[in-house]
Amino acid sequence: MKILVCISNVPDTTSKINFVNSNTEFDTQGVQFIINPNDEFGLTRAIWMQQKQQAEVTVITVGDSSCEPTLRKCLAIGADKAIRIDAEPTDGFFVAKQIAEICKKESYDLIIAGRESIDHNGGMVPGLIAGMLDYEYITNCISLEIDNGQATASREIDGGKEVVTSEIPLVIGSQKGLVEESDLIIPNMRGIMQARKKPLEVMAPLDVSSASKTESFQKPAPKGEVKLIAPDDIDTLIDLLHNEAKVI
């Protein structure tokens, strides 16, 4: 079984979010980049399939050379090889198109991408890839087993979950629950040493245009001071929620 895991290189969840160049670019100064958490849950599930079902795991990202430490971390976690498409990931459509073209050549059985990245929150890359390839697609995926070309997966829905079966090839939108946080693999020294020797292929991008352009960013308006209410003055809280905030 051949698995492709799509990786987004994103600012750490604790990063301060600031913008530079007249608010057109994210300020990377002092920011640590990590594997997008939703992608990492998917990568871990893929590594389990590699260990138990001899699956071959390739990771892919679209980005410049600054993404390579994140790809090396994926290799240290256990991925067999990495591909970097050397282009600026201008929008979800551009990224999906680049990855879908590689999938056409390599015919992966399973393609995993996080349900959304924690920076742009577009939530479209796995769905676009599935649509472009006309593969089956399950997002918000919280469990996945593949046996004899048949997948059984659960999808988190509003208020519960849904269990589905599907044939492969299949695209998964991964998230927490597919594996637990405590299951995430912390690379050991041996993994890190091996990762240095594993193949990391840099490919030129396809000439496609984006569907959209992010023109500028802005930070939300600063909010006012919290109104503190004494713990024995619940009536005031109820009055404020009813008459001032008008939410009860």
């Binding site: 979800g92 924690i118 929150n121 509003d158 629950g177 569907a211 503190l228 009860i248």
Partner: protein
Amino acid sequence: MAVIIYTESEQGSFKKVAFEIASYGKALADQTNQKLIAVTFNQADSSELGNYGVDQVVNITGAFTESFSAKKYAAAIAQVTKQHESSLVVVSSSADSKYLAPLLAVKLSASYTSNVVALPESKEPLTLKRTCFTNKALSKVTSNQAVNIIGLSSNAFGIIETQTSPKQSEVTVDEVSSTMKISAVEKVTGTITIADADVVVSGGRGLKGPENWHLIEDLAATLGAATACSKPVSDMGWRPHSEHVGQTGKPVASNLYIAVGVSGAIQHLAGINASKVKVVINIDPEAPFFKAADYGIVGDAFEVLPKLIEKLKAFKAA
């Protein structure tokens, strides 16, 4: 030309998001001088949409419409959109809409912009304001495509009533094939989901253990609210994962969010930031949540909650 909206229903009733999508669609249709067409699936009675400005309802019928399939629903909405030569489609931020929107984008060769919080700032090119960095920032995005799908953020636009008398037509579409089958659905019935709730009551580590959750549940029941929890609480198994809200959990965009014993880590705040009014109850006055909240009580949850529940019950009864 018309604005197309996907109005979701479940077991014959529209979801709350359907009315917000209709309200937004109506404003967008007025802005662009178009009529508003709602697409429904297997929804016999759609007269309710006439309260929110819908001009026409296209109800898609056929055996496949009995249960949701992102692939089949996307193909069906694409067919209707093409038939009406529409260039604007609006969907919600529900799990199902976010599932089908990218598939629909491919079918229509459209641009899809998710988490949109307002009407377009300009039509040529279409310029949309959306949230990013998990609500820690906003961005302005322009589209290069002729056809566009707008994914509206929950509770960003609100529900606006406009009376119309929509005419309804039943339509069958060419069903696309799929190997995917639903084998089981596990759904908690009788409780309000975080996605649908006007009010969300959330508990953190400050509650000291799962045995104390009756306080959160009682407060939620009093307010008709959904229950939620912080990441450590779900990681420790005190509460199910489906209740975890925050950056890697579920997003919350309720009218009122009450956090009890939640310190307010940056990842938690990011996930709940879209809520309109935030109340924090925490014994630690240094808890970061106080900087993000509108109203706060520095106090012991075990003393404050029983009083709050009692007073709210009296308030609701009055």
